[in-house]
Subunit: 237 residues, 2 copies
């Protein structure tokens, strides 16, 4: 945790004082080892960043005096479209995706994705939000990426993706692509990453048909977890 995130409702109006309990209080005490007088980096979810000085720390409560005088870092102009991976991988990836500054995440179901993954509690809104917040705390950001779930491929391709492709360049990570994935693109991007079992030919055709360019990552077959930072490190300026 490189930044302690506060919920907007935790900031009482008309005061700069905040009282914190639970995981964040424990983390501040046990990992960050703060003491009264110390300063912490803080942010308000969806809002500004700044610093906080520790007024009081006891086994129940961490009390802070907060000054919000800074902005969160800009997001990358990058939408990620991701076939839902195995639940433990998805949990870790949510934090990674938030920390990397992805603006928007579409979680999608493809023919070769496991249907059972969609029964997991990892896709419940509260569980998703919790993992995204961990990524924001890591990266010192306050702005949650926008996440949506798409259980059906056809409406995704027919309705959800075309408006995104109207205002961004679409890239499809695809092992058979002849064109290698480009570097350092200074334009809005929508990047599609299929399931580890691959997309069906029919699915690739549909995506290419609406404007995605297939790009390759070399002859090594990578797991989805490293593929996401690999792509973002490569594509970002």
């Amino acid at each position: 945790m490189n930044c302690l995130l506060l919920e907007p409702e935790e900031i009482a109006s008309g005061t700069d004082s905040v009282r914190i309990e639970g995981r964040r209080r424990r983390h501040a005490e046990e990992i960050l080892r703060v003491a009264p007088g110390d300063t912490l980096r803080v942010g308000v979810v969806g809002g500004r960043m700044g610093s906080a000085s520790v007024r009081r720390l006891d086994p129940e409560v961490l009390e802070l005096r907060v000054v919000l005088d800074d902005r969160p870092p800009p997001k990358r102009a990058l939408t990620l479209v991701l076939a839902l991976p195995r639940p433990p991988v998805f949990r870790r990836l949510l934090s990674t995706i938030a920390s990397l500054g992805v603006e928007r995440l579409l979680v999608v179901r493809t023919a070769r994705g496991e249907g059972s993954f969609w029964q997991s509690r990892v896709i419940q809104p509260g569980a998703i939000r919790e993992r995204l917040l961990l990524g924001l705390e890591q990266a010192r950001d306050t702005m949650l990426p926008e996440v949506s779930l798409h259980r059906h491929f056809e409406p995704l391709v027919a309705e959800a993706l075309p408006p995104l492709l109207d205002r961004s360049r679409g890239l499809l990570a695809h092992p058979d692509a002849k064109q290698p994935c480009p570097h350092a693109l200074d334009e809005p991007l929508t990047v599609f990453v299929g399931p580890e079992g691959g997309l069906l030919d029919h699915e690739v055709e549909r995506l290419v048909g609406i404007g995605f360019e297939p790009v390759g990552l070399g002859e090594r077959v990578l797991r989805v977890e490293p593929v996401i930072p690999f792509l973002i490190g490569r594509l970002s300026m």
Copy 2:
């Protein structure tokens, strides 16, 4: 597992037949769902790749007829110098690093790394090899990266790193660096990734003194696990 790896001693001389038990037999049966007559991609650790047809599959043994008519993909000309992270992260990273085609890995101890991590069994040679093999199976490769452990910073900097820097460009991932990490470098590289707590100023000075260029990854603070593929996606052609 996109490629079943055989140990050299499993290939009896003068025959193309191989018998496999344990994890790999179970994986072939339960995940790959092979049946007699099917073909699998195979490789010999440290050697050639090819294909195998399934002769027999029963609860004890998978018997293959192997043809080794292909080469593994080339490694990237990249040496990674990595401060030992938390053991579960290191386990996953070893497979990722092998799958990404890193040629050589130096695992190092720095002042802010936790000494207790060096007591973990994850750094035993057998445990390291096992995790590397999983990464090779994923990426369809047979060549293990060379791994060495360095428990002392001074001899690392004075003795182990200079010969590497004589024949490669050294980059140090560093949050304070003004120069952003370059893209698509077509030359041998040695990339140093410190601990999540950061390097001491003194350590940075020593590394810069022997020729490492500090490069930044942007204002977001990332965990080490995504940093490795982020860097490799960015640096590789």
